[in-house]
Each structure stands twice: as C-alpha cells, then as structure tokens.
C-alpha cells in the first residue's frame, strides 16, 4: 500500500515536471521564432542609414569621420548578428533539454504505470484467408512499383547516353579532321597565314567519304555555302580568281542577270547553283541561278507559312526584308526573312519544310545569316528580350537544340571554326563573344568585350577571335576554356563590314571606307588606307589577296601583307553592299539590281 502511494507520488511528480518542461519548451520555441523573424526582417548592411553613409563616403572619400561611422555601424551590425546567433543557439540547447525532459518524464510514467493488458475478444480473421489477401497485396504493390518505375523512366529518360555517343563520334571526326588538316598543304598564296584560318573549317582525307546526310569538309570547301564562304569566316581555300574586270566594258564579266526582288543577302553557291533571296514588304522569294549562264533555274515564293504575321515587320532601309544570307548543304537550301519565315527548299526549289520563328523584335530588321553544321541548321536570333541560338534538323526542321542568350539585339552572323580542339560556333552581341558547341548548343566560353548595336560578324584565325563594333572597341581574344584578351584598340571601328584575319594579320574595314591592317597577335598597326568610298560589304581572302567591295561597286584588291600593296581596282558598274562569293575560279557579286558572274 505504501509502495503504491509512493509510486503514485512519483508519477504525479513526473507528470508535473513534464508539464513544466513542456511549457518551457513551448515558450522557448516561440521566443526563438520571434527572434528569427526579427533578425530576418532587418538587414543592417543594406539599411537606408548605411546606404546614406556609404553615399556620403563616396562623395567625400577622404572624410575620416564618415569612414569611422561606417566602421562603427558595421561592427554594431556584426555584433548584433552574432549575439542573436548565440541567443538562438543557447535557446536551442535549452529547448532540446526541455523536450528531452518531457519525453523522459512521460516515458518514466509509462514504465511506472501498471500495464493492463488489452485482451482481444477474438483472433482477427482466418489466418489462411489473410495470407491469401497479403499475397495479393504484395503482387499489387509489385505491379504498382513496376508501373511507377516505367512511367518515371518514360518521363525522365532524355537520351543522354545517345547524345553523348553522338558527341563522342562527332569529336572523333573532328579530331581526324584536325590531324589531317595539319598534314594538308594549303594552296593559298599566303600558306602560313591562311593555314589556320582554313583549318577553321577543317579538311580531312579521313572525312572525304561522305557522312550520311551532310557534306564532307572537302565538298564544303569547294563550294561557297554560306555568308563569307565556308565557315562564314571570309577565307577561301580555292585558287585562280580574276583580279581585273569591268562591268561597264564587259571585261571578264561572264554574265549579268537581273534580280527580281531586292535584298542585301549575299550569294551562296553549291556546284552549279547560286542561291539568293529577295523580298519586299509583301513578297518573299528564293532564287536559284545557273552558275554557267546566269539563267534563273527556279524561283520559289515563300508564303502561307503557319504562324507568319500578316503585317510586315518594320525594317531599316539599310537592312530590308531579306538581309540574312542563305545557306546550303548541297541537299537543301535554307532561307530566313525579316518576318521570321524560315524555309528549307530542295535543290529544285520544292518546299521541304517551313516555320515561322515569330516576328523578330528587332528595330532595324533581322539580318543574321544562316550557317550549317553537319546536318544541322544553326539560327542566330538575337532579338530584344529573348535572344537565342538554335539548331534545327536540316532534313525535318525539328529543333535539335536551343540555347538562350543573355545578350542584346544584334545583326551579326555566326562563324564556325575548328579551334584545334573542337568545332565551335562563335557569336557576338552586346556584351559577349560566346562560343557554343555546335553539336549540342552548350556554351563553351564567353568573353565580355563588346557593346552597342553589333553589326559586324567575327573574324577568326589561329586561335584568336576578333570582335569589333562602332562606339565600342576592337578586341582580339584568345579562345579557350578561359578566354583572354590579347589586345584591343578603339582607333578605327566598324559598324557594318566585318573584319578578316589570318594568322599574322587582321584587316579591319570601316563603313566610311578605311582599311586598317594590324598585327593579329600584338595589335600593332601596320598600315591604314582610305578608299574614300563607303563600304558595307565584308572583305574576302582568296589567292593571298584581300577583296574589298565598296558601295559604288569597285573591288579593291590588295595583298594580304603588312604593307599596303594594291593589286587592282575593278569596277562593277553598279553599286553593291553584299559580300561576293568565290567559287570555281569565279566571283559572284550581287549588285544593287543585278547578279554578276566574273571569271577569266
């Protein structure tokens, strides 16, 4: 009896302690939470008082008093923070202790309280029936687990393994290309200078056999498939181009054909076919000319594209409705227009696929040209607010990859280069030069070196990429995982024509007619020459000569050298703002109204 009373007293005591500890724990919890929210709300280092003091200090950097005030305030804030930390931590330990006290007391009560067994009335169900039911439930759970697993696999599987294999194969091809290119003796007049830039688009005996669905590097180099030639880098590895012609007298003019609709895009050539586009506010067309006689083989009207806006985009007169140059892979030709219509036509002009990219948010009009990488069409779409670059399957138009770009609107075009390690497509727009893996769209590196409304495209040679824009600067950036600035200059800048580079030299044209030659590696200026005529066309390097067309249609031809040596000046007899295509010993120039083929 006495023992029972004593136990009851102990139980009662333990219950009281548990209650008190629980109350304490609750109060501590509330205090910690209040403390937490108080501190969370205050941000002393960004308080208006601190900001005012910092502003005052900026205006009076020598004022020691303000400096000391800031220090004191900073110290105060740090002290307050660490005091709060201490309070919360100590409170936490007290909390832990009180909760443990509650649990231990209650557990002790449980142990001291006599157990009154809960005698079940009957045994639960038939044992064997229960077993059967359990078996069934195990089977159900197995089926459920398999279903969930398969559903999860279906939802999350993204063919990463296939993608990696594909990249590995591509890398292997690229490595072959690099090795073989190193053994190839380039035949340009300035071999040492053009080697690396030609290597930019690669060539390889190992790749001579055509891979399914896209041309070999040799095929690409023997054509002019994109703006500024193979790789869009301005360098031509073919030889034997004329340096003298006259559009008025007809000297060396093979043929001249009127272009139905206007456009500032440049000609691209595949075998004996030349492709151009023309457009006005109401109509968009793609043309195919015969390289041999200049006759229009076919013209394809681009209209009724799903999603295409009924209203024409607002464009600048110097951009027009068909500024982007087409591209071709010899299987199809691809064109994009100022309203966002993107089409793929077969070599006979028949529509393969088409889509509208949306009306570009571009106040001058979209002008970035297209380029191919293997069987993928790479589209640079630097519009306001949502710039991106993407690759579409050339065959189907399906998106292969799409990468957002945190850049401003630009009018430049992508280049495709082999940096010796890998193929890279490099784009420029304020504020970055950004390199992407053309197979996957993943960003490889970026360099912050440009500003403004970027029009000129990049030049690349021997591991160095050159960017330029008016009111910004000319920058030479060593490419790689950690790009670095080699040199920069702001003496001469371009807003429309793009520079061209060799391993030794950089040639920079300006839209007001200057041509400047720099040492590519050091930035030392070798010479400058004033053509005295505005220039919008971009220079091309062929046969060791630089070909620069001015707005009046005069081609200024000079040696790719550190001294200015003029080779010739050949008039077209018609103005031009487009960049010529060099192929099979012929130069194809788009004049303001006519297409010219110049050959010996």
């Amino acid at each position: 009896m006495y023992k029972q009373k004593s136990t009851d007293k102990t139980i009662s005591l333990l219950q009281s302690i548990a209650t008190a500890a629980a109350l304490l724990a609750f109060v501590l919890c509330v205090l910690i939470l209040v403390n937490y929210y108080q501190v969370k709300r205050s941000d002393p280092l960004n308080s208006p008082a601190m900001k005012t003091m910092i502003e005052r200090f900026r205006n009076n950097p020598d004022d020691e008093q303000i400096k000391n005030e800031i220090r004191e305030f900073d110290l105060l804030a740090r002290k307050a923070f660490f005091t709060t930390r201490w309070q919360i931590r100590t409170g936490g330990y007290l909390l832990l202790f009180s909760v443990l006290t509650v649990i231990i007391c209650l557990k002790s009560v449980e142990l001291l309280t006599p157990k009154i067994p809960d005698l079940p009335e009957t045994t639960t169900g038939n044992f064997w029936d229960l077993r059967k039911l359990n078996r069934r439930w195990v089977i159900y759970s197995g089926v459920f687990l398999v279903s969930i697993s398969l559903l999860f696999a279906f939802l999350t599987h993204n063919e990463l393994g296939t993608t990696l294999d594909r990249i590995s194969n591509t890398s292997a091809s690229t490595t072959d290309s690099i090795d073989s290119t190193a053994n190839n003796n380039q035949s340009a007049a300035e071999p040492s200078a053009t080697d690396s830039s030609t290597a930019a688009v690669g060539d390889s005996a190992g790749l001579l056999q055509s891979l399914d669905g896209f041309p070999t590097q040799q095929e690409i180099n023997s054509n002019s498939p994109s703006f500024r030639g193979p790789g869009s880098n301005g360098t031509v590895s073919q030889q034997g181009f004329p340096t003298s012609w006259n559009g008025v007298s007809g000297k060396n003019i093979n043929w001249k054909t009127n272009i139905p609709l206007p456009g500032y895009n440049s000609p691209v050539v595949w075998n004996d076919k030349i492709f151009l586009s023309g457009a006005n506010a109401a109509k968009r067309e793609v043309y195919c000319f015969n390289l041999n006689d200049g006759k229009i083989l076919w013209r394809s009207v681009v209209d009724k594209i799903a999603g295409s806006s009924a209203t024409a985009p607002k464009v600048n007169n110097e951009t027009g409705f068909a500024a982007p140059t087409l591209t071709t892979d010899g299987r199809r030709v691809y064109a994009v227009f100022a309203n966002g219509d993107l089409v793929a036509l077969d070599m006979q002009g028949k529509l393969v696929w088409a889509k509208n990219l949306g009306l570009p948010k571009n106040h001058y009009g979209h002008s970035s040209s297209l380029i191919m990488y293997h069987d993928m069409l790479i589209v640079q779409f630097d519009q306001s607010g949502s710039a991106y670059v993407m690759a579409l399957s050339g065959k189907t138009g399906e998106q292969v990859w799409k990468t957002s770009r945190n850049v401003k609107i630009s009018w430049s075009s992508p280049i495709l280069v082999n940096t010796g390690k890998q193929m890279e497509t490099i784009l420029v727009a304020e504020p970055f030069v950004i390199s992407y893996n053309p197979a996957t769209g993943s960003e490889l590196w970026r360099y912050d070196c440009i500003s403004g409304e970027v029009g000129p495209s990049l030049a690349y040679a021997d591991g160095v990429v050159f960017s330029v824009n008016d009111y910004s600067k000319l920058a030479a950036v060593q490419v790689g995982a950690s790009p670095r600035l080699l040199w920069e200059s702001d003496e001469y800048l371009s807003d429309i024509p793009s520079p061209i580079a060799t391993a030794k030299y950089l040639f920079l044209p300006t839209s007001y007619g200057m041509m400047v030659c720099y040492d590519a590696k050091t930035g030392a200026k070798y010479w400058e020459h004033d053509f005295a005529t505005p220039t919008y066309s971009s220079p091309m390097l062929a046969d060791g000569n630089i070909f620069q067309l001015d707005k009046k249609g005069v081609m200024h031809i000079f040696k790719s050298d550190k001294t200015y040596i003029s080779v010739n000046e050949s008039p077209l007899g018609e103005g031009s703002v487009c960049t010529p295509a060099f192929v099979k010993g012929k130069i194809i120039i788009r004049g303001d109204k006519n297409l010219y083929c110049i050959g010996k």
Binding site: K115, P117, P120, V146, T156, A481
Partner: protein, 421 residues
Amino acid sequence: MKKALALVLLVFLFAVQVMNSYGIQRFPKPEFESGYVQPETLMPDPRAEVLAIMDIAVLLVSLSVVSWLVLKKRSRNGVFWMSLFSLAYFGFYREGCVCAIGSIQNVTLALFDTSYIIPLSALIFFVTPLVYTLFFGRTFCAGVCPFGAMQDLVAFRPQKLGSKLNAVLGVIPYLYLGLAVLYAATGTDFIICRYDPFVGIWRLNASFGMFVFAGILLILGIFIARPYCRFLCPYGVLLNWSSRFSRRHLTITPSDCIQCRLCENSCPYDAIDIPVTVKNPEDKRTMARKLIFIIILIPVLIFAGGWTGSRLYESLAGVNAKVQLAKQIVSPPKDSNQPETFEIQAFKSSGKQQSLAFAEASAMLGKFYLGGWLLGGFMGLVFGGLIAGLMITKHHTDYIPNKGTCFSCARCIDYCPVKMP
C-alpha cells in the same frame, strides 16, 4: 498530455530548423587595412584513433549488455535505459557517425572500389551487430541503435497496421537497400547518410527537407511505432535475414505458453506471430502446384524486374556528379540569366576536355545500366521471395515473436503472466 506533447514536438522541430537556417554566411568578410591576414580555412583533423576504438568498445559493451538484459534479465526497463544511453552516445555525442546503417555503403564501396580503404570502425560497426543478431536476435535494434531509440521514445500511441500494410510497406527497405548499394558501388553517393532523417537533429544542422522528413517520422512515430526501422531501414533487411537464424532469440514466455493471449496486442511493431493451429484448407496437390508455379515465377520476376530497372538507368544515374556535369554541358539551362552552376565553373577552370567528361559520363551510364538490371532483378527476387514466404507457414501453437521483424525490445515480456522460476 499526449496531444500537448505532439504540439510541443512539432514546434520544437520547427525551432531547431530555425536555428539551423542561421548557418549561412550573412556578411562579407571584413576588409582590414591594418595588414591583418585572414586565417586560412583548415580542415578538421580526423577523429583520434583512441576515440574510434572507444566507439567500438562502447558498441561491443552496449550490444552485450542489451543482449543480456533481453535474454537473461528479461528487463524492458533495462533495455529502455540502455537505448537512452545509446541515443545520447551514438546520437548526440557521436552525432550519428559512425553508424551501422550507413556502414553498408562503406562496405559496398570497399568491395567495388579497390582504391577505397574502409575504416576499421565502419567495418566493425557493419559486422558486429549482424554477428550478435545471428546469436541473440535484433538486440542491436532494441537498445543500441540511436535511430530506434529516438523513435521508441515517441511511440506513445502505437496502432496496429494490419498484416496487409505491413507486407506491402515491408518491401520499401529492400528497395532502399538496393539503391544504397547501387549508388555506393558506383561511387555516386552515400544516400543513407544524405537522407539520414535524424542526424540533422543530433547535429543541429538539418536542411529544411530533411528536417520535415524527420518531423514527419517522429510525429508518425507516435502512432506507428518505429516507422523508419520497419519501413525504411536498409540495415534492418540484413538484420532481419540474420535474425531468422538466431540461435537464441527473445521469447515472450520464459516457460510454457499458457495461451492467455495477454501478449497478443503488446507488440507495437506487429511482430508477434499468433498460433497457427488450423491447417491450410487447400489440398496438398493445389499447394504443391502453387509452389511450383512460384518457383517458376521467381526467375520471370527477376528478369521482369531487371528489365524494368534497366529502363530506369538514366534516371538513376541522374544524381551522379559525372552524369550531371555532362548533362549540364549538353543541356544548359534555357534561361541564360541563370548564373553558371558551380560544377560548370569548376569544370571550365579545370581545363579538362569535354570529351573526357563525356567519356566518363558514358562509362558511368554503362555502370548504371548494369546496376539497373541488378537492382531490378533483386527487387524481382524480393517480391518472389515474399510471395513464396506467404505460402509457406510453419505450424506452431504458442505466441512467439517473429524472429525476422521482432526488435527484441522486450515489451511483450512484461505482459506475460508466466515468470521465470
């Protein structure tokens, strides 16, 4: 009182999390003009060998004492106080490390990666509880494991779940074990440690997610005793297997069962097997046919499980650092405003070639493909085994603890009116 306790527990756990949320660097490092040089960040020294030996000694002594309390003294109170000690030592003092549950991963990694040298304490923490279980049942769970102790403390209102739910939920630990072995074998992660629900409380540094997980387990634990031990613990699977063969296991009654049924509802873990006196109503032929069917079915289940697992390999590999890096390189975030991830930054600064990163990721995907087959096959075997197990039953006339699932907590002993002579 119990409701109040649950409320306090909930608020307490939230407050613990609040404390932890301060573990961030709130201020930039001060800039000194006095020439003071900021001290370099130092890595803490490894735990002294003597302390590691002490951990082993405490484990061995605790296991011995608990086994003695369960089998010889048959004292629930003794087991309870030992579990409190274990919680204090292995939980709060040792902060949940070293731990027998997590040691599965150390052992697995040591088996698959020859460059990994398993710490002696991890090996002993893995082997010793299994050996003790083989002799004395799951006395480790009863009073040595801090996980069990933590949950046992809050098991105030345990409810019976019923055999159906127990059977279904009992599959989860096998899956967790399989995943833990897969991720440890591939060197991907120690998921048991990463998703350890209580270590954050012991160390006062739980992430919010893990804190919520721990809170749910503890609150659930008031009504469903030891939810982690029963329906998650991967080490419990090994202990379960080991305990089935235990030489001396806890018995409810020290002598002959008098069929009083007082213990029938005493076990909060549904681990008491009621007497099976009625024979299976199915005739022997039907039973034999079913058994043959299940024997044939098991290889089919293994293959089906393996195939399903192999479909999941890319999802399973998604958490591997090498695969994640390749994925980030191949598919960068669509929002270019997002800053580069630390992984990408580190990769770029390493100067490592992408091709190497892709090759490593490809090799890892290959490992996960094989691992997916093995994991799925294992799960197929588990399901087959469970179904077969539910077809084979030994007849017994007494109330006995289920050797596999009984935690040897000794609660049932107090309910038995038969006492030791």
